[in-house]
Symmetry: C2
Subunit: 888 residues, 2 copies
């Protein structure tokens, strides 16, 4: 049997790999191969496959047989291409070692540069480059990276030694350190390694190489990589490839440099080259944000020929990939090398504009354009921004790193931010700069503010990926971690816990909360949505409980209301006492008296919503939550009574409170989720549902008389048994007949049910005989199918489940197609078997989640319903679903 090919070489104008092998050789490796094949100048190198990573972990962190030989062969080829020798004292071949997973994971994986240097080969490098300072600077960087990345030492220790050295030499910047100082640093670094890790720094290049390869594979499973994959839902079993590439140098003097760029503006989508470069620098200097780089346009002035060559490559790559590219390049003594290309990450705004522009330019068709925008990302387009007309004084200004406005309490520590985020607090994470260790804090924060780093700094890239507002490189402010505060240019001190607002669209920072306006959708967005609407097979509705929400949703393209909850209306300050009276009623008469008072209020609610939706259908769910939700908190009341007693309070007052406590205890449920709620309330107190139905139909009839053709759809929640449906349907139809007769109008209404319990799915054929529509309540259906409640799972064990890959995704965010999906499928099939005209939708949170929308499409649903802000997401997702699996 021929041995598996573990190593793919590129260089000398050809490459073993191609774009199609991306899963095997990773995104970066595939693109390096592809660029090589396109005739672009790429430093030669080789890629160790992702399979090796998998085998490495499967085999207790051992490499597969044959790998060493294949790597040696590849190194030999590199030596041939470059006319250098790995470990040679005169003309040493040096490598970079980088990770490269299927999908780019920026900042997550460790990189080692200048590999191959030691006390001997340094001499060769000096000879080659005739630049002793550069050589020792490279050597210093290599030892530092090796200690930090391969040996897992604290990077701050090395930085600290550099700071000391600069002080000692009385200089301000790294590049002011002379050869002697750099030499001393190399020696100090090595000594530090010896002391900390108890091993000698490996001088042998082979040892350095295998150490670095091992570090890349090892870093696949470091905490921040796992975090990133969890947040981005990347399967943990994919593994990473390793890219070993011959070194080129951007720090070889003023005719050298390095940069990163996008072929179009990834923030706005404008068709303009976009990027930054630094002269006489290595790539990490740009990304790390230590020196603030120059905009790419300036390269045209500084190195016009290189600029022309570079932009020609941009155009070639964009045409080849028919999409915006994110590239890294290095200029080594006047020669341009491309180090990487990949599909450029972009803001939602940019994604939309680019997709529409590329279609206009004829590079892609409408369907492809639709597929180019990740529906989930539209979220950021739809968020509020700061009112441009507001008269505001900014506290400071940084870079507009990721669009959107965010307000929250200032927090300087990522752990703390994560903790507070979990508790529902709105925080802004403020850091000097962020690193992969801050991922969880960033994920939990409303927005991110850094005082250092550019548009491609870690903070900026990650925030854009997350769709979160971010301001980076705000050097105006001084961050003091130890005092947990930052100081603005005007001397204002902002302490931990103070509220600020950041505007990622302008880079401005404001003290406190400031007026914001709802997002407007631009013409590109409108065009894309129009294409989506033309293609999609499912309707998109919204979940809205108020006229305001309903209006917003219509703006976003909602075609009706899929879920209007009626209980929120009960919490209104004026109404709650009446609601409580209803609950505490001893008998039906008293209860009906309270309900009579609620009737005109509910009628008013429904009129407002019907009006907001004009003549679009509106599905109204009858009362669902357990009644004790409307009563005071048990523990608080208990404490109050105990205190009153201990302090000898008035007996009568205590007795009254105790009476109330007893009622709360009587209504107390062990498991309210599984208790006396939904249609069970309607079955035991039909008068409540009767009142609600009457309110709905009176509202509808009154509007009908005013000439508005409303279409109420009354939804009975939490049905598990046909008898429940039959009884409640009767109550609703009775109310409808009485009201319609009273008003003397014709009214087109339907009655249906929420399918949110496993049993309802299993007897859907029985229910469908009597129901006009089904609406899947996949939140509750997920809870009962899995047998855990969202509150308890997310607070207790779900995070652990996701980390440990027990679940690939959170089933409350992404519909569990394997389990819950089967029940949905059973219900659809059984329901349509007895009622072919049954209208079926979904109104759980999954209705706005793209993968779940795709499932709904394939399962034959008529519509999805989601929160107003998710309506555009659902529209696009539904279009993509139809493109991928057309149905009639």
């Amino acid at each position: 049997m021929a041995q598996e090919k573990f190593v793919y070489v590129f260089g000398g104008g050809t490459a073993d790999g191609t774009q199609e092998l991306k899963n095997l050789i990773g995104g970066k490796g595939a693109n390096l191969a592809e660029m090589t094949n396109l005739g672009i100048n790429v430093p030669p190198g080789y890629t160790i496959t992702t399979n090796v990573c998998t085998l490495f972990y499967e085999n207790n962190r051992n490499y597969p047989e044959g790998l060493v030989e294949q790597v040696n062969e590849a190194v030999a080829k590199m030596e041939e291409y470059m006319g250098q020798k790995f470990g040679d004292v005169d003309n040493p071949l040096l490598f970079s070692v980088r990770s490269g997973a299927r999908i780019s994971m920026p900042g997550m994986m460790d990189t080692v540069l200048n590999l191959g240097l030691n006390d001997q080969t340094i001499e060769g490098l000096i000879k080659q480059t005739k630049n002793e300072r550069f050589a020792y600077d490279s050597y210093r960087r290599f030892v530092q990276m090796y200690g930090n990345v391969v040996l897992d030492m604290n990077g701050a220790d090395f930085e600290h030694m550099i700071e000391e050295k600069k002080e000692e030499r009385g200089v301000k910047f790294d590049n002011e350190l002379d050869v002697a100082a750099l030499k001393e640093l190399v020696a100090q670094f090595k000594a530090h390694i010896k002391q900390e890790k108890g091993i000698k720094f490996p001088e042998k290049p082979e040892e350095q190489l295998w150490g670095s390869i091992g570090a890349v594979f090892g870093s696949w499973n470091n905490e921040r990589a796992i975090n990133y994959r969890n947040i981005n839902e990347i399967p943990h079993h994919w593994g990473t490839a390793v890219n070993v590439q011959t070194m080129v140098y951007g720090n070889m003097g003023e005719n050298s440099g390095t940069g990163v760029a996008f072929t179009r503006n990834p923030s706005t989508g404008e068709n303009e080259y976009y990027g930054e470069y630094l002269k006489n620098a290595q790539g990490e200097d740009v990304v790390a944000g230590i020196r603030t780089p120059k905009p790419i346009a300036q390269l045209e002035e500084e190195m016009p020929e290189i600029y022309r060559e570079l932009t020609a490559i941009f155009d070639k790559l964009e045409r080849h990939y028919t999409d915006v590219q994110d590239v890294e390049f290095t200029i080594q003594e006047g020669e341009l090398f491309m180090l990487q290309t990949r599909t450029g990450k972009r803001t939602a705004k940019a994604a939309v504009k680019i997709a529409v522009d590329l279609e206009t330019e004829g590079l892609i068709d409408q369907k492809t354009a639709l597929l180019r925008v990740e529906p989930q990302k539209l979220d950021e387009l739809l968020h509020k921004r700061i009112d441009p007309d507001a008269d505001l004084k900014a506290l400071a200004k940084g870079l507009d790193a990721s669009p959107g406005a965010a307000t929250g309490k200032v927090i300087f520590d990522s752990d703390e931010a994560a903790e507070m985020g979990k508790e529902g607090e709105q925080v802004i994470l403020v850091r000097i700069e962020t690193s992969p260790e801050d991922i969880h804090g960033m994920a939990a924060a409303q927005g991110i503010l850094t005082s250092r780093g550019g548009m491609t700094s870690h903070a900026a890239v990650v925030a854009r990926g997350m769709g979160k507002p971010a301001v980076s490189g705000c050097e105006d402010i001084k961050v003091d971690y130890s005092r947990e505060e930052f100081t603005a240019p005007d001397g204002t001190v902002v302490k931990k816990g103070d509220a600020i607002t950041i505007d990622g669209g302008t880079g401005n920072i404001y003290l406190g909360e400031v007026p914001t306006i709802e997002p407007e959708m631009d013409e590109n967005f409108e065009k894309l949505m129009e294409w989506a609407d033309q293609i999609r097979a499912m309707q998109v509705r919204t979940n809205a409980d108020t006229p305001e929400d309903a209006e917003a949703a219509v703006e976003f393209g909602a075609e009706g209301i899929g879920l209007c909850r009626t209980e929120h209306m009960f919490f209104d300050e004026e109404r709650l006492p009446i609601v409580q009276k209803m609950i505490l009623a001893d008998n039906k008469e008293e209860r009906e008296k309270a309900l009579e008072k609620l009737l005109p209020m509910q009628k008013g609610d429904f009129k407002g919503i019907f009006k907001a939706m004009a003549e679009r259908p509106v599905t109204i769910r009858l009362l669902d939550p357990p009644l004790h939700e409307f009563l005071p908190d048990h523990s608080e009341l208990l404490v109050e009574i105990t205190k009153m007693k201990a302090q000898g309070g008035a007996n009568k007052e205590i007795a009254e409170k105790e009476e109330l406590l007893k009622t709360i205890e009587r209504l107390h449920e062990m498991n309210p989720m599984l208790g006396h709620r939904g249609c069970r309330l309607g079955v035991t107190y039909p008068e409540i549902y009767r009142m609600q139905a009457t309110a709905i139909f009176e509202a509808a009839c009154e509007l009908k008389k005013e000439g508005l053709d409303v279409h109420p759809e009354v939804m009975i929640p939490l049905v598990s048994h046909i008898k429940e449906y039959t009884l409640m349907n009767e109550v609703v139809v009775d109310a409808a007949q009485d009201v319609i007769e009273k008003y003397g109008v014709t009214l087109d209404y339907t009655v249906g049910t929420m399918i949110e319990l496993p049993r309802a799915c299993l007897v859907a054929d029985e229910i469908a005989r009597e129901a006009d529509f089904f609406s899947f309540g996949t939140n509750d259906l997920t809870q009962t199918t899995f047998g855990f409640s969202r509150d308890d799972a997310e607070g207790k064990f779900l995070a652990h489940y996701l980390e440990e890959e027990v679940f690939e995704t959170n089933p409350f965010q992404v519909l569990d197609q394997t389990g819950v999906g089967q029940l949905v499928d059973i219900a659809v099939t059984k329901g349509r078997s007895t009622n072919p005209d049954l209208k079926i939708g979904i109104c759980g949170e999954h209705g706005g989640e793209p993968r779940s929308v795709d499932f709904c499409h394939r399962t034959g649903l008529n519509y999805v319903s989601c929160s107003p802000f998710r309506v555009p997401i659902a529209r696009l997702a539904a279009a993509q679903a139809q493109i991928e699996n057309p149905r009639n």
Copy 2:
């Protein structure tokens, strides 16, 4: 189209109906027809079908067209048979009107006697009978019943008037009232009716007849009939028939009489005639328990010819029906009439003996004998009785109305008894006599004690039907409702709330709790169980957590343990502090330290259980409940802290308690049923499951070394996802390998899972690939499939659901085959599709419920598991299932 036949006539030696028409003409009507056809002397009559009842309710309480004509025709036939005329002044035909549903509902339906009497026809009756006193007594009874039953008036008012009349005349008994007094009573009764109901007593016989027919149909839906059907799970849509029969009189003097009897002893099953009669009385006098009747044997002396004729009929009926009959008869001036025969209700003990005896006598075969015993009824056979060796002094002695011993607090009011029963209190319902209004109190009580009434009194019949201990007719005691106490012969006053013990097997009453012994199963029981074991296809296991339970279950025939819960062991007083330490541990190390202490304790538990089960298989479920169940109650602690604070307690102590409170709050779950429990605990704290598995395998290996071939089956609870199973299976198998290696033995063990969540059923194919067995946890599966928890449903709305027939049965008692059953079926089919050898059982409470056992049989399960006392029930139910649906 021929009109539907609504009326079935019997009399003159032939009948329209037969036994086969029972569903249509009711049990009583069918048997009257059948007896007529057998040539037995039955007063002629006719039956109005149950269909009429259904049509009556469907048609808004109106009779179907044609009914009146058919009834008139039948009446004409009766007139022909009897040579009398309905409403005739000289020779009036009189009727009884009785209910008669498909299944006998003793005491539940209303009866009217002597119908046809009025101020004119009374003269004819006097002429006919030459007994003016009898005639007026009949008239008095008729008016009284009509007021009470048809016009729904308070029966006590009439009784009160009789009492007054007796006082007025200075007599003690009803039969001492003379004609004048009775005449006055009739007039008073009519005046009372006029006053109370505002209507004149109907003098027209036709009006009386239709009023009574309507009352029978109406009583089908009175509260006590509904209660009875709910308790006995009789469908509410069946309806009742009405039997109209010509009157015969047992109160026409000393050569008349009336009685009720069983063809064999319904309490012991002995082959002896059993019953009671009263001379010169009407049937209601026997049943109501107003006069204490004589045993049937005495009839042989008093009326030897009648006795011979009667017992010959007993034998004929028993041979005809091949079962014990419960008959009513009347002797009218020396002529014997049979008024009713029906299958005799019997105690479990009697049922078993009769079934075995009838088989021995060659009347039925073994299969029929097995089908003759209702499995559920075996329950009463298995209950404790009072230790016969205990030196006890009875407080009083009544009749041994229903076997078994019961202890509880004395309660005199049925509502209160029902209330306390709901709260889990053990009560003994004490009444002078019971009536259908007491059903709910009787159902909730542990036992029933009455001071009046015989072996066929309401209390006795109903208690036997319910399988509850009862002592009736305990005239030794004086019950005082108003003081809520009773006085024993020795002057002891027993007050409400005092504990007593009743022995339904002897009729003895004891003060307080007394020593009891477990039931022994007699040889008839053993024989029947042997037949069952030979026939059944499913194994029967038990749910047992202790060696004691396990031993009891083996006695009852358990073939293994299907569910051994491990958490009860954690609640042990000595262990709880260690368990709490484990829960409160900050880290894995501390937790493991606590677990190490628990290991030898758990090992000891398992050794005990393995030994008790000898070499039978034992399924042990790993820890299931949420951890906070092991911590103190939140509210109590909160009150304690609040008090301490208000009273200025020690700061340190308060702080400690607050720390504990915080932990409890951290572990608090909104819906513990849907929370961090089951294998979710194992996934987050694998060390807990590891400890338990180790304890199981060490126990098994040590016994193996001692020569006991144990078969542990480790069960992982609450799996919803294959990954959970895979991870936990690994933990168990790892522990097994380590332990087996350590002990150097071979051990036959299996690992499987409880299937108790809908999702587990849906992905059963995936799970079965890795699992050796499934065990359906139908308690939790029912909760999640319906989406309600048992605690909350039974406390809040389930009673209402059963009353209103939303559900036909309580799904926690009887498996919901329509919904939950589908999931079971899916899981069995999917599970066997990937693992044909998969062993499948059920260990929810349904495993001991006959209808559910039948379902399990049909679905192809390998075994059912239930509580020890239900094992015989399951054995018999499994045999019946196999008889009805044989499988290989």
